[in-house]
């Protein structure tokens, strides 16, 4: 079992402390960009648990995110549930969706599972448009309550949520669950022969990934004040989550956070070149994937050859 040495954790702690005191000096715009980036970081880290550890090709992270977001948004807007309860409802809906997605994953793998997860996103998108009366359809669903109207508290909520999620997901990934997932992902038969119940662990992995994706989706809705297909369900959002996780370094959990923050910040910095910014970000990600398959974290000497 790998331990987190102080020497390696120190730079991380310094960065996090810096981020925590940032609201004292930075303006609302910077805080707003980073708030979105932090929620994206949780999307990417939850995706990495499924892909990096369990080896599941999930092309539909936004299925889980969207269920959490719309579950919470509709609970708040239609049932008038208070924000914490609405977030809980969103998380429960997402976990249910995660378990539903785990069922095909028990039978299918590789591109087949990838397509099924993609289809799940498309069906969710269609359902939202068809039931526009309760979901707000293509315009989006605005929620009456928000977390906070100030950028400072919103930023701190997102940062705290990202740190807690990252910590919990890292602990899970390093626990026996993470080990068994990796073993089953690499050689299912050998893992089963050693007596591990791969089915149960796989469902657990999907449920945990869905829990954090759903929580992040729900929180994002109460930060933005609206749930819309283009913000939480669209396939292009899912593609960005995948790119973030692979860019940061797969099978690291924290790599997802680094990749997500890098992508969002790079997108903002490249905003002056307009339409081409997405092109440049995709090009950078492509070059990183081809030249540095271990992602940005692979550049750190301590991980090389691991």
């Amino acid at each position: 079992m790998r331990t987190i040495s102080l020497r390696r954790a120190l730079p991380l702690i310094i960065v996090l402390v810096f981020l925590a005191v940032l609201p004292l000096g930075a303006n609302g715009y910077i805080l707003g960009v980073l708030t979105t980036a932090f929620y994206f970081a949780v999307f990417a880290m939850s995706w990495d648990l499924l892909f990096g550890y369990a080896g599941e090709v999930n092309f539909g992270p936004t299925f889980l995110i969207g269920l959490g977001a719309y579950g919470a948004g509709m609970a708040n807007a239609l049932l008038h549930a208070p924000v914490p309860l609405a977030i809980l409802i969103g998380a429960i809906v997402a976990v249910a969706g995660g378990v539903a997605l785990a069922i095909p994953a028990l039978r299918l793998s590789g591109p087949y599972l990838g397509l099924i997860t993609l289809v799940a996103v498309l069906l969710l998108q269609q359902a939202i448009v068809i039931f526009a009366g309760v979901t707000g359809g293509e315009i989006g669903l605005s929620v009456p309550d928000v977390l906070s109207i100030d950028s400072g508290p919103n930023y701190e909520y997102a940062l705290a949520f990202m740190i807690i999620s990252g910590l919990v997901l890292s602990i899970i990934a390093r626990s026996s669950l993470g080990m068994i997932l990796q073993a089953a992902g690499q050689d299912k038969i050998a893992a089963a022969a050693l007596g591990f119940n791969a089915t149960r662990h796989k469902i657990m992995a999907f449920a945990i990934s869905a829990l954090f994706s759903g929580l992040a989706g729900a929180l994002l809705v109460f930060y933005l004040g609206t749930a819309s297909v283009s913000a939480v369900v669209d396939v292009s959002i899912g593609v960005r989550v995948i790119i973030a996780a692979v860019l940061g370094g797969r099978r690291t959990i924290i790599g997802g956070a680094i990749g997500a923050i890098f992508l969002i910040v790079a997108g903002e910095l490249l905003r002056p070149i307009g339409q081409l910014s997405t092109f440049v970000v995709a090009l950078i990600a492509l070059i990183v994937i081809v030249i540095l398959p271990d992602g940005l974290l692979g550049l750190l000497p301590s991980r090389r050859g691991a």
């Binding site: 591109p111 087949y112 269609q126 593609v239 790119i243 092109f279 990600a285 492509l286 398959p293």
Partner: protein, 291 residues
């Protein structure tokens, strides 16, 4: 009357789907690559055909030719610039190569989409058909273009069949799909064979793209949907199975046309998606796939 209309429209769209998905399944069958930038290649062909034919005013014929050339170029660039570096990379473990190809081609598709939107336009355009006008078939007014599309598509598919089954090149392609190692042991250069298959893929994608653009219109935003449709059809038919792809294309094409005419055009994608889920549960290898 409506039944005949559905029959004719469904036939045209299904044939186009078959041609559009054929390259996707061919490249998977021979080299094991799932190209998620597939929709990008189709739209490159259509956009260039529109740009040269309509925007620059050289006419439909030159436009179609330019579109075909652009698709071949884009296919070779996909192979040389994206797929080959990953297959050659020592840093990527072989077990994860497939996932890297998927992610990289996905990114490549995004780049094609953004580049087309930037260079040309991000609003939908229609490629000028090679022959205009309409013709009556048993009282149903049908654009001649629709017939032409079906004829060209079937002619191209026939040529592909002849190429694969009746020529030396085709035998090598088949051999590469069955046992690439044995082929290299017999002294054939695998790189040349892969290059050939990507070239054929470019031709197929180019023709399909131009025809699609003249029938359904085209636009950079269509890329993800087109990739998704091809992926759906190919998996439904069985990855790597050409006859399965043809069958699945007609099933999906007719289901979509029936839904669009009888229920609602906005729901045309939905039944095929459910069908895909059901088929994958019952028969994960697809209709005619082998595992």
């Amino acid at each position: 009357m409506l039944a005949l209309q559905i029959l004719i429209d469904g036939f045209a769209i299904s044939t186009l789907y078959a041609l559009g998905a054929l390259g996707f399944t061919l490249i998977f069958g021979v080299s094991g690559v799932l190209n998620l930038a597939h929709g990008g290649l189709l739209v490159v062909a259509a956009m260039i055909a529109w740009y040269v034919g309509t925007s620059l005013g050289y006419g439909a014929d030159w436009g179609a030719l330019a579109g075909l050339g652009a698709a071949i170029g884009a296919a070779l660039l996909t192979y040389g610039g994206v797929v080959r570096p990953i297959e050659r990379s020592r840093a990527i473990p072989p077990r994860e190569r497939e996932l890297f190809v998927l992610t990289a081609t996905l990114l490549w598709g995004v780049m094609i989409q953004e580049a087309l939107a930037y260079a040309f336009t991000d609003s939908p355009v229609t490629v000028q058909p090679l022959i205009g006008g309409t013709i009556g078939i048993l009282g149903v007014r049908t654009p001649i273009n629709e017939l032409l599309i079906a004829i060209i598509a079937w002619a191209v598919m026939g040529c592909l069949w002849l190429l694969v089954n009746r020529t030396k090149i085709g035998k090598r392609l088949l051999a590469a799909s069955i046992n690439p190692r044995a082929l290299t042991l017999l002294g054939f250069e695998l790189g040349t064979i892969y290059l050939t298959v990507w070239l054929i893929y470019g031709v197929l994608a180019g023709i399909a793209g131009v025809l699609l653009g003249s029938f359904l219109g085209t636009g950079s935003d269509y890329i993800p949907d087109l990739t998704g449709s091809a992926f759906t059809i190919v998996v439904l038919g069985g990855l790597g199975s050409v006859s399965g792809t043809l069958m699945a294309a007609y099933v999906v094409g007719y289901i979509e046309t029936l839904t669009a005419y009888l229920i609602s055009p906005s729901l045309r994608d939905v039944p095929a998606l459910f069908l895909l889920i059901i088929v994958l549960y019952v028969r994960p290898q697809g209709l005619l796939g082998r595992r």
